[in-house]
Amino acid sequence: MTAALETRNLVKRFGGFTATNDVTLSVRQGARHALIGPNGAGKTTLINLLTGVLAPNSGQILLGGEEISRLPTHARVGRGLSRTFQINQLFGDFTPLDSMMLAIGERQGHGGMAWRPLSRDRAVADEAAALLKRFRLADAMGVATTLLPYGKQRLLEIALAIAAKPKVLLLDEPAAGVPEEERHEVLSLVRELPADVTVVLIEHDMDLVFSFADRISVLAQGALFAEGTVAEISKDPQVKAIYLGEDA
């Protein structure tokens, strides 16, 4: 079976600094995969490479067996890749409804339609409403994003990524800024996704990681440092030394 997402010898340099160092990684379909590692290890950089925000210096990226390293971001999204950002990337004064209409409309290829009024996209509107409701944003659907409390914005960030109905979903610290007690809830929404959706999670909260992931890769200084099941990684003394510390 081909991996849902694969990288081969991926390298990214910023000037003389190697942020991604020969990373070869394979994530099977339907996996709940976590990516952890010290600050500055290159996790976000790796996600940026996968999504095409950055171009690699060398190496390949394969999505469902298809090489996508040279495709622009939007084309990768079209092939089923989606992500959230470490720092919210939302549309300022758009309402959550606008944002969802956009995301769903784009997925269905309506984005080029210049002659059909938005309000006539009933199917899209219904789906948007349903998704907003699932993310507890229904009450706020007509409010400008910037006026929403941070937690709601965070939810919208994730909802947008999910609206694209991705095959592979990349989450960059989705629970950042969300209170301890609500973190699990955020991830439970992710967990509800169909089993064949592959999820890659970056997170520094080990409670979350250990409860969510079935497999973990550890990055350090740009390179793959260790990989294994939750049990293996959480006991690995080297990982403890560089990342987890003693009490994890």
Partner: protein, 232 residues
């Protein structure tokens, strides 16, 4: 012990909007305070108001016995405030080192000392602020505040995005700073269980008002109360 920060009947917010409703607070020198509360409770607003970057509506703030209510933010800093904003707000077009030196004030915290605390920053010291990873930015924001050599450190979710091992180190370091150097600190944090063991006192904010205050030890000892205040 001397009172470092005294807040009375503080009402503040953004523009017309009032977020804080009559907050009272006293913090003694060399003590640390955990500030807890849900999303949107007003924690950040309270810190920002102490710093002086929100709209002040009523009430008074005293630092070190001096009334600063009418002072602008840049006039308060010299009295000894060090601030780690929630969104880090690293200066993007300054290098790491410039970020540290641009606002630095003389004192025991020097470049060498913060680099010692965060070796990672030393490695990246020629990088621009916006070329840092999330965690590195967080370290920089904390280091920048320390370089101000403040009497009162205001930390808004300083652990966010840091690797577990760094979190532990930072908390230990903060503890040392407070006990050994007599610096005071207010720490806003989502991970209450992480910070409570290290702080002296705790207050909980709810809709802009203080709804609970006690020693940290007391709150830790009563997990039900903690859950009641913090869960949804």
């Amino acid at each position: 012990m001397a009172v470092l920060l005294r807040i009375q009947g503080l009402v503040a917010g953004y523009g017309e909007a009032r977020v804080l409703a009559k907050v009272d607070l006293v913090l003694e020198q060399g003590k640390s305070l955990a500030l807890l509360g849900r999303n949107g409770a007003g924690k950040t607003t309270l810190l920002d108001t102490i710093v002086g970057v929100t709209t002040h509506h009523a009430g008074a703030i005293q630092i070190d016995g001096k009334d600063v209510t009418r002072l602008r933010a840049e006039q308060r800093t010299p009295l000894g405030i060090g601030w780690v904003p929630q969104e880090r707000n690293v200066f993007r077009s300054l290098t790491v080192e410039e970020n540290l030196t641009a606002t630095a004030r003389p004192g025991s915290w020097t470049l060498e000392r913060v680099y010692q605390m965060f070796p990672r920053l030393k490695e990246r010291r020629r990088n621009l602020g916006n070329q840092l990873s999330g965690g590195e930015q967080q370290m920089l924001a904390v280091a920048r505040a320390l370089m101000l050599n403040p009497k009162l450190l205001l930390l808004d979710e300083p652990l966010e995005g840091l690797a577990p091992i760094i979190v532990d180190e930072l908390l230990a370091a903060l503890r040392r700073i407070v006990t050994d150097e007599g610096m005071s600190a207010i720490i806003v944090e989502q991970k209450a269980r992480k910070v409570l063991p290290l702080t002296d006192d705790v207050i909980v904010l709810e809709r802009g008002a203080v709804t609970y205050r006690d020693t940290s030890a007391a709150l830790l000892a009563a997990p039900e109360t903690l859950d009641a205040y913090l869960s949804v």
